[in-house]
């Protein structure tokens, strides 16, 4: 098994953190992992992205050119990456911010009203954790309880309020995707 996952959005939307969380979670789930951030001029205002590869074998390329999972947090990232998703891959996007304009099929689209869900969870900005929760629903190799313990490990206990919102967003994102995919 090897998956390439791309997470893309504006700097400040928690793109790199989401990638890091995914990488740490995959690691404790027993996989090999690479995490490669965009560190170029994109960090300063433009789109920013993180490529994560998880594999049961040693990893060659840390570059993800045809993601099996794409998490899209803003419109420019849709424009840039949506068409790269592999045919059987999932494009999970915040349907509150992203208007899919292209007629091409970006893998299997999973529209998630992440801003609305995050607002209900307590902070409309935490759309990254909502999409991450939805991702966990379509990537059963990464158990949600591992993701929860990685979150607890990555976020300092000093920010317990934030941690609780993050955990709630992950749960709600997971549940929304579950509803969406249930027959």
């Amino acid at each position: 098994m090897e998956y390439g996952i791309m997470i893309a959005g504006f700097g400040g939307q928690g793109v790199l953190f989401t990638g890091r969380l995914l990488a740490e979670t995959a690691l404790i789930s027993g996989y090999q992992v690479t995490w490669y951030p965009s560190y170029g001029p994109e960090q300063r205002g433009g789109t920013c992205h993180a490529a994560v590869v998880i594999s049961s074998e040693p990893i060659g390329s840390p570059v993800v050119d045809e993601p099996d999972f794409l998490l899209v947090l803003n419109q420019p990232s849709w424009e840039r990456f949506a068409l790269t998703t592999s045919k059987q891959g999932y494009t999970i996007y915040n349907s509150d911010l992203v208007k899919p304009a292209s007629t091409a099929k970006p893998g299997i689209p999973i529209p998630i009203p992440a801003s609305q869900i995050a607002e209900k969870a307590g902070d409309a900005r935490v759309t990254n954790m909502v999409l991450f929760g939805s991702f966990l629903r379509v990537c059963p190799e990464i158990p949600i309880d591992h993701a929860q313990s990685s979150l607890r490990a990555l976020i300092s206990p000093r920010y317990e309020d934030l941690l609780n919102i993050d955990l709630k967003c992950v749960d709600m994102g997971y549940a929304f995707a579950d509803n969406l995919l249930s027959p």
Binding site: L27, V33, T34, P37, Y39, G40, G60, D65, E66
Partner: protein, 358 residues
């Protein structure tokens, strides 16, 4: 994975930080540097952690000053390191020439970015010539090691200080922005105590004979002797320090040649091509100086074509051609400017060659 005593599984680490930690564990006790992207995590890590083991961190006023501080501390017998990225490494070349001639051990990390000029901060491999052919003025080489994973970067950095001391020559760890910025899980080696002060080091001679660290030999015959002495060490390196990896090269009709980050991308392309029935393998030089000419020559003997892949306009390909000696065509595929080739792009190159030879 079984761990020996003192090894430490660290989970995910950034390449730059892993290199810095490996250096400290190898006994590095002095670091001099100057900020430049994409290697800033190295000085930042050193600033935080080197003083905890009694080491010295100093941010120099320039790359010139930094490499000359390295020369001073290395001449005084301390395990010393600097790091930079391409434009900064250019500025260090004068110092490296002096250091090589004066036979001062040190470790230099170059996390390459795109060039020429100020270029960009994205990954590139355009400093291959500079790293392997001397770089500064005069007849000398660095011992150049090119890791392709963070674990390998840790292992080579850990060894680099011993190699520098053994050969009394600068050792360069040649990586790029991708290796420096990415994260991967690593196991760190056991911390080593620094080697004792060598007898040639300028630490104050007490009642003994004064020591001189020098690269000035004004008489031609004396300078020639000095140069021969340095090149005798390079001959020893060629015997003992050639490193490389063969990946699926048995029976391969196409041999990819790539190093560092590009090699791991090429590996994925090899795997993809193999599932399509293409007989392709990868030869990965790990020591770039000394270059594994004979070893590459051997795997190329049965091949119909060699494809060199680099993040440059074609530099290592010249050494590949020297190794292959015209026995089969040597093709080149490169990206530059900071663009990282994808496995898919490399696969297309492999398929194009395969369609001619199969």
């Amino acid at each position: 994975m079984a761990q020996s005593i003192g090894e430490q599984s660290m989970g995910l680490m950034k390449g730059n930080e892993a290199i810095a930690e490996a250096a400290i564990r190898a006994g590095c006790r002095a670091y001099f540097g100057y900020p430049i992207t994409p290697q800033n995590e190295i000085p930042e890590y050193m600033a935080k952690h080197l003083p905890k083991v009694g080491g010295v961190f100093l941010q120099a006023e320039s790359e010139l000053a930094a490499i000359n501080m390295v020369y001073g501390a290395g001449g005084a017998g301390v395990h010393v390191m600097t790091s930079s990225s391409s434009p900064g490494i250019s500025l260090k070349q004068e110092g490296l020439s002096y250091i090589a001639c004066a036979e001062v051990p040190c470790v230099v990390v170059n996390m390459m970015r795109s060039g020429p000029g100020l270029g960009g901060i994205l990954p590139a491999q355009g400093d291959y010539f500079q790293a392997t052919k001397g770089g500064g003025h005069g007849d000398y080489h660095l011992l150049v090691l090119a890791p392709s994973t963070i674990q390998e970067a840790v292992d080579l950095t850990y060894e680099a200080f011993d190699l520098a001391r053994r050969y009394r020559n600068p050792v360069m760890i040649l990586g790029d922005g991708l290796l420096g910025q990415m994260m991967e899980s690593v196991t760190l080696p056991q911390p080593k105590a620094p080697l004792p002060k060598p007898p040639w080091a300028t630490t104050g001679c007490g009642d003994g004979e004064p020591r001189v660290i020098n690269s000035l030999y004004i008489q031609g015959d004396v300078m020639e002797e000095r140069t021969k002495r340095i090149f005798a060490k390079y001959a020893k390196m060629k015997q003992n320090e050639i490193r490389f990896e063969n990946y699926k090269t048995d029976g391969a009709k196409i041999i990819l040649a790539a190093y560092g980050s590009t090699a791991r991308i090429a590996k994925t392309a090899v795997d993809k091509a193999r599932t399509r029935g293409i007989k392709v393998g990868l030869f990965r030089p790990i020591s770039l100086y000394p270059f594994p000419y004979d070893e590459l020559s051997e795997v190329a003997t049965e091949a119909k074509a060699v494809l060199t892949v680099e993040m440059s306009m074609g530099q290592m390909v010249e050494d590949v051609r020297l190794a292959v000696e015209g026995r089969c065509p040597v093709r080149f595929y490169g990206r530059s400017g900071g663009i990282v080739p994808t496995p898919q792009e490399i696969l297309q190159q492999i398929q194009a060659i395969w369609s001619h030879i199969a």
